[in-house]
């Protein structure tokens, strides 16, 4: 819990400093900051939603990305060592936010017809609605948030477990087996440490990737709600 508060404070401080003075001709630091913010803005939000709708949903999506990224990365930071998102709370909250956002976007645009569009897609022969409608209902209104939560959560949990496993095995092999018992089998600890190091790097990749995937899917869901045809 402390991790999240620390990370949030850090994020907020960074954001305020980074955007305090944005010049037309950027300094080096500003280029770096703009790279991150610009990536979210252009590659995730505007590319998916377009300029106009993108601006409406910019703030929540950006906050979502930054929060997930920050909390994911804590999994590899010493002394934190657990991803803030590997506890279900954050993922669940963000998934609910995404859920509310894409339903809100649909209703705002089509009114109550949004549900009709979503559940009874046009161009399908009417007897097939018996099959299509439940599928659409489950996939859109049940599975989307659930998959969002589970994908993020399980990635982080698995990453955390892998790291814990590798490093505790290293610890066990090197200290207990090798030094205390004098057993050469303890040299396996070097291998497990190498695995742990590799997975740490991998975890960083996954952290960024999951933040991207989560935010991107949230944007895509909004886009699907706004689209005329489903």
């Amino acid at each position: 819990m402390l991790i999240r508060i620390v990370i949030t404070v850090l994020l907020i401080v960074w954001l305020l400093i980074a955007t305090r003075r944005m010049r037309i001709v950027p300094s080096r630091g500003q280029v770096a900051n703009e790279f991150i913010l610009g990536f979210i803005r252009n590659n995730i939000v505007i590319e998916t939603l377009g300029e106009k709708d993108g601006k409406r949903f910019m703030a929540p999506l950006m906050a979502m990305f930054l929060l997930i990224l920050g909390l994911n990365l804590t999994g590899t930071v010493p002394f934190f060592n657990i991803a803030g998102t590997s506890v279900i709370g954050t993922a669940l909250v963000l998934a609910i936010v995404s859920y509310v956002m894409f339903i809100y976007a649909g209703i705002k645009k089509f009114g109550i017809k949004y549900f009709k569009n979503a559940l009874f897609p046009a161009g399908v022969p009417w007897p097939l609605y018996v099959i299509v409608t439940p599928i659409e209902f489950i996939s859109t209104f049940v599975l989307r948030p659930v998959t969002l939560v589970l994908r993020l959560l399980m990635n982080m949990v698995a990453g955390h477990l892998l790291l814990v496993l590798c490093f505790s095995a290293t610890h066990f092999f090197l200290l207990t087996v090798l030094f205390t018992d004098g057993n050469l089998l303890g040299l396996l600890g070097i291998g497990t440490f190498a695995f742990g190091a590799a997975f740490t790097v991998f975890e960083i990749l996954v952290a960024v990737l999951q933040a991207y995937v989560f935010t991107f899917l949230a944007a895509v869901y909004i886009q699907l709600s706004l689209a005329e045809e489903h």
Partner: protein
């Protein structure tokens, strides 16, 4: 140690899928806090910066375009002036040539006139001298001939009237003779 390791693993872990109350509450607070910061500060600032940059770039492009247009206009003007200057030069050259020809012709004419004048002068002078010579010759030839004739015939032909008549007749004969010769 091994046993302890497995003991830890064997403990019933809390189900990770069931969130604790505090988990949800704090996550929400954190997200809302971040959302507020992003919405109030980050996005507007970033949009402002990006807009300003886009504007600056567009302004720069426009300025460059204007500069280019000005440059090309100046070049056109320069080319036009150059062409004009060339035409002017050609015109002046042509003018000079025709002027030169006119002057030359005039000079030639003047020279010819002068030459003609000189020739005429010379002719009249020659004519005058000739006539003067003719007159003096006439009197001298007359007296000579008379002297000669008086010598020959022994008789003074000093009677002027007679002598003049003889000389005149002789000269007239001479002229007639010459004229007849020239007429032949």
């Amino acid at each position: 140690m091994l046993r302890a390791f497995f003991d830890v693993r064997a403990e019933e872990p809390p189900n990770p899928l069931i969130p604790a109350d505090y988990d949800i509450i704090y996550s929400s607070i954190i997200f809302v806090a971040l959302l507020i910061v992003v919405a109030i500060f980050v996005v507007p600032r970033m949009n402002r910066a990006l807009d300003a940059r886009a504007e600056a770039i567009e302004g720069g492009l426009k300025k460059a375009e204007e500069a280019q247009a000005a440059a090309s206009a100046a070049r056109d003007e320069y080319t036009a002036q150059l062409a004009e200057a060339r035409a002017e030069a050609a015109r002046i050259r042509e003018q000079a040539r025709t002027d030169g020809q006119a002057i030359l012709a005039e000079l030639k004419e003047q020279a010819q006139a002068e030459a003609a004048r000189i020739v005429a002068n010379a002719q009249t002078q020659i004519e005058a001298e000739r006539s003067a010579a003719l007159v003096s010759l006439r009197s001298e030839v007359g007296s000579l001939a008379l002297d000669l004739a008086s010598g020959v015939i022994g008789e003074s032909l000093s009677d002027d009237k007679k002598a003049a008549a003889v000389v005149d007749r002789f000269l007239a004969d001479l002229e007639a003779d010459e004229k007849a010769k020239a007429g032949k």
